[in-house]
């Protein structure tokens, strides 16, 4: 590998190299030492050293061996009193990445339900993806000390509460896998919604979410929901180039330039979804959401979208996972499959549960405008505007207010 220039692109390339190796190293060290927290500290030290030195020196030929050497040296240094650990570390050599990939255990430990969701997310990013505390803080726009505290508390809980480092038993696995998928999905959502150019310097969480989903899909090839989530993320990413205009304003699906979509990626993600669905015949929320995204992605124009099919998929999704937000999305599809009036009726009893949900008010504004009730529409836009902190969404709503 060659020396990298400074700049965001080389930084990202560096992050990718770190990500590919840090998780494996963490998994091996936790297995070896039997101490999650100690192993994680060593990997984090190595990662931070790499982020400091690789940009000025060069990315080593064998980044994994390099990271291991730094972690091991550091371990022999700091674990002086832990003779047991020292002996194990001293004997350890870094061979070719082992046949056995322990990262599945790592993911399940990081996403253990005895940890808070925020802790699960921070821990997964740090331990599995090799993000530094500073990178996590920047991605979520929270102070570094908050993230550091969250991580420290989580690691203490793992040790003191006896959270195991293993793949859950068969009867626990479905629920535990749901938890791990939820972490990846939240990460994806956070990254997807906050991407606007304002945080161009921040870590691309969507990229990390896709990486995690694809890692999990490789480790659990017989779980169609994992493939479903991966397809969902890839289908959304494939439309990325059309989501913002030159002025970094959000462009709605209806107005997006579909020639900018990555049609090859859309085809591949759709094929992945179809394969998983056919092989297992176990539909689930992620496969259904991916199927909806595929309907949009494969339509040649907004008008020619298969809206009746989307409404059917939402019905199936509501059957498996009832949620007011899904009902709202179904209502939006119903507008095009049926009429704005029918969609407005569907929104009636969502007010109580989604009072503080931006999209409800924005959608109602749209529907009211479609049936000519402009004054009421304006009121809804104002309510929506008051609820968003995202600059791109704010700009979109403000623009709408100014011409409505």
């Amino acid at each position: 590998m060659t020396a990298s220039n400074s700049g965001p692109n080389s930084e990202q390339a560096l992050a990718h190299v770190v990500r590919d190796h840090a998780g494996r190293l963490a998994a091996s060290l936790v297995s070896l030492l039997g101490d999650f927290s100690a192993a994680e500290d060593l990997v984090q030290d190595a990662v931070e050293t790499a982020l400091r030195r690789w940009p000025v020196e060069e990315v080593p030929e064998r980044p994994d061996a390099w990271l291991f050497t730094v972690a091991r040296r550091r371990g022999l240094d700091v674990l002086r009193r832990e003779t047991n650990y020292r002996a194990k570390l001293a004997q350890m050599t870094w061979v070719e990445p082992s046949q056995r990939d322990d990262r599945l255990r790592l993911i399940f430990t990081c996403c253990h339900p005895a940890l808070s969701r925020a802790a699960q997310i921070a821990l997964t990013l740090r331990v599995v993806c090799g993000l530094s505390t500073a990178q996590i803080a920047a991605a979520f726009v929270v102070p570094e000390t908050t993230v550091a505290q969250r991580l420290t508390r989580a690691k203490r809980k793992i040790t003191e509460a006896g959270i195991p480092y293993r793949i859950p038993d068969v009867d626990d696995l479905p629920a535990r896998l749901d938890g791990a998928l939820a972490v990846i999905y939240l990460l994806f959502n956070e990254g997807y919604l906050s991407s606007s150019g304002v945080h161009a310097q921040a870590r691309d969480l969507v990229d990390d979410a896709e990486y995690l989903a694809s890692l999990l899909a490789g480790l659990m090839p017989d779980e169609p929901e994992v493939a479903g989530l991966l397809a969902l993320i890839r289908l959304h990413r494939a439309r990325g180039a059309a989501r913002f205009d030159d002025r970094e304003q959000l462009v709605l699906l209806a107005d997006q330039d579909r020639t900018l979509w990555d049609h090859e990626a859309i085809g591949a993600a759709t094929a992945l979804l179809v394969r998983a669905a056919r092989a297992h015949r176990r539909p689930g929320p992620y496969q259904l959401q991916a199927a909806i995204a595929a309907c949009h992605a494969e339509a040649e124009s907004f008008e020619s979208t298969d809206w009746p099919q989307i409404v059917v998929l939402y019905d199936m999704l509501l059957h498996l996972a009832p949620s007011p937000i899904t009902r709202l999305h179904r209502a939006i599809a119903l507008r095009y499959a049926s009429s704005p009036g029918a969609a407005l009726d569907e929104l009636k009893d969502l007010d109580r549960v989604l009072e503080n949900y931006l999209l409800l008010h924005a959608t109602r504004a749209d529907l009211l405008r479609a049936v000519g009730r402009n004054a009421e529409a304006r009121e809804c836009d104002e309510r929506a505007l008051a609820l968003t902190a995202n600059p791109a969404q704010q700009a979109l709503l403000e623009e709408r207010l100014s011409w409505s």
């Binding site: 005895a114 006896g162 195991p164 038993d169």
Partner: protein, 113 residues
């Protein structure tokens, strides 16, 4: 590792128990008995506490007389009604035991330090 499973009763649960007929209540107790028998090899100690109206709380204050009050230490709708100490490999095993608890609806699991 040793864990204590604290069994927490809610108001609804207490009411439910009250309104049960005798055979129903006997069934409920039998289910608890079976649970203890099933996990007997892991349970190192357990106790069922008398109802919360029997609780007395003492607050110790440095250099001053303790304050004794009637009732549990937190006034609330959820009260600890008993506990079992288990000796298991890790939290997942403790969770597995807690999962099949057939009585009150909340179980707090804490390692013994």
């Amino acid at each position: 590792m040793k864990y204590v499973l604290m069994f927490v009763e809610t108001e609804e649960f207490a009411k439910e128990l009250e309104t049960m007929g005798d055979p129903e209540r006997e069934n409920a107790y039998a289910a608890v008995g079976r649970w203890f028998a099933e996990h007997g090899s892991k349970i190192t100690h357990h106790a069922h506490l008398a109802p919360v109206h029997t609780a007395t709380t003492m607050r110790l204050r440095r250099g001053e007389e303790p304050v004794v009050t009637d009732g549990p230490f937190v006034e609330g709708k959820e009260v600890v009604s008993g506990f079992a100490e288990v000796e298991v490999a890790d939290l997942d095993e403790a969770l597995k035991i807690a999962r099949s608890w057939p009585a009150c609806p909340i179980v707090e699991i804490r390692p013994v330090s």
